[in-house]
Amino acid sequence: MTTDDTERSMPTLIRAFLVGGFIYLFLVGVSSLEAGIKLLGQDTQEQLFSNVSNPVAGLCIGILGTVLVQSSSASTSVIVGLVAAGAVDIDTAVPMIMGANIGTTVTNTLVSLGSARRSDEFRRAFATATVHDFFNVFAVAILLPIELLTGVLSNAAGWLTEHLVGASGSDWKSPLKEWVKLPVGWIEDLWSWIGLSGNPLGAVIVATGLVLIIVSLGLITKNMRKLIADRVERSMNSVLSRGGGSVAMLLGVVITMLVQSSSITTSILIPMSAAGVITIRNAYPVTLGANVGTTITALLAALASSSPDALTVALVHTLFNVAGILILYVPRFIRGAPVYCAEWLARLAALRPLWAVAYVMGAFIVVPLVGFGIAR
């Protein structure tokens, strides 16, 4: 029996327990990050995060950070941790969250490059991948200015937070925070025991938190994917046989909430699209559902802190994606816009695959870097 066979045949119950353990580890990571930042001191925090106070810089950092870790779940959880620690305020965090939404689309776009040598397959795969990009860019282009002018998303999220846990600004006793207190204390004690204190101690605890968040999220995704693979397969077949629409969107939400990764959901669609078994119009709502489903991770991360602001930012992430769907998908006259743009770009990319590479490099690395350089 190979390692893969052993992994496959692991009893469901054991795997479910493992996932529970990794979720706990993830919460410990978020809480450690918060604790580490608090130890860094006000001056250091200001030095580190003053660059992202400009919304465009925040947006670009959100994109770059997510591209770097290839997971919006991880990057939004970090942003929630930063808000919980008070290092970043809600206004600064909102553009970063929106940037994370754009950055996460790079994964399925990279997956689609795998079929670059077969023009027709590539055209379909690239269109399905980039429809996610276009939707998120359009959503940011519409909602970021509105948010900056009116604060509608953060106000709505704040209102929700107030009704869920009490007035913003005051502390609330999250039960999850209590559960993770002990191991976070152990991490602090361990690094203090080897002689670290002050900023170095804070930095090492932040690093420990980051590692825990990224590793545990990866392991949650890997194990949940195995746990629900048969169900995902069956529901994808349902999408194929009964078409897309709101049901496909709900499936996207459910699958992504369970695997804690929109990249997994959207990347599954790419080979299916390349082979021509799913159309871009049927894949599109699944992608939008994945956008909403992935916000569960930031909400979970917010529960590991006792800061209402952290919960507000996590709720902004959810509201942003829901609002994006309401604006760009529900009205029929605009629904096709991201699809047309994606198909246009895919036709270009199919003719010259170099365009696809230039697009990925430009949209996800060069433009955010330049944007950050100018706006910071």
Partner: protein
């Protein structure tokens, strides 16, 4: 449909195999009707709609199953790629049997008469023997049995050799064309159907590289 996500249900390659077994049942139905029309004088018009409808159903399920296999690989990863390739081959072969049954019907509709001939009894026995192979193949698709597989392989090879012998006999026959040509064509179809049946079992049970070239059939054979 969303709630179906949380319910248990058929999925994976076993589901595909069980639907392929259903396809094979349809292919047998089409074969039985088409050969009945040719060998017993049953009106071809009476079975035409049934056979063509069955063949359309086989083709439709084949498309669905191929999609499901793509979904399987997309979701589960490349772990099952060998089985998936085998299943794609298997589905193609069942599709071909459906098409070949339709070809036999075309022969009957074109006016070929093999009913009430001196060898009618032998032809009907041969038809029944091949029809029985369908259920054996279906069994072997779901339950691997080396001894039964070997026995089936031997019988299929014998049947194919017998068909080939008849074809060669008709080619060199002194009888008129309208007598020997339909028979040669009919036996050619039977040979292909038997080869496809053996190919189905091998695709379902043997690694791709171990499949015998003799069992592989091509559309242009």
């Amino acid at each position: 449909m969303v709630l179906s996500f949380f319910r248990k249900g058929p999925s994976g390659l076993e589901h595909t195999v069980s639907r392929a077994v259903g396809m094979l049942g349809d292919a047998r139905h089409a074969y039985d009707l088409a050969t009945l029309a040719l060998l017993t004088g049953t009106s071809a018009d009476a079975v035409d709609a049934d056979i063509r409808g069955t063949d359309d159903r086989i083709d439709k399920i084949a498309v669905e199953l191929r999609s499901e296999l793509v979904v399987h690989i997309s979701v589960q990863g490349a772990m099952d790629i060998g089985s998936v390739l085998g299943l794609i081959l298997l589905i193609n072969k069942i599709e071909r049997i459906g098409a070949q049954a339709k070809n036999v019907l075309d022969l009957a509709e074109a006016g070929a008469v093999l009913a009430d001939q001196p060898d009618s009894e032998a032809l009907l026995a041969e038809r029944a023997e091949i029809s029985a192979l369908f259920s054996e193949v279906a069994d072997l698709m779901t339950e691997h049995d080396d001894a039964r597989l070997e026995d089936l392989r031997r019988r299929c090879e014998t049947l194919q050799a017998a068909q080939q012998e008849k074809i060669v006999g008709y080619i060199h026959s002194d009888e008129p064309g309208h007598v020997v040509v339909p028979r040669a064509i009919y036996h050619r179809y039977l040979k292909r159907i038997v080869a496809n049946l053996l190919g189905i079992v091998l695709a379902a049970t043997e690694p791709l590289n171990d499949q015998e070239p003799g069992a592989l059939t091509h559309i242009d054979e």
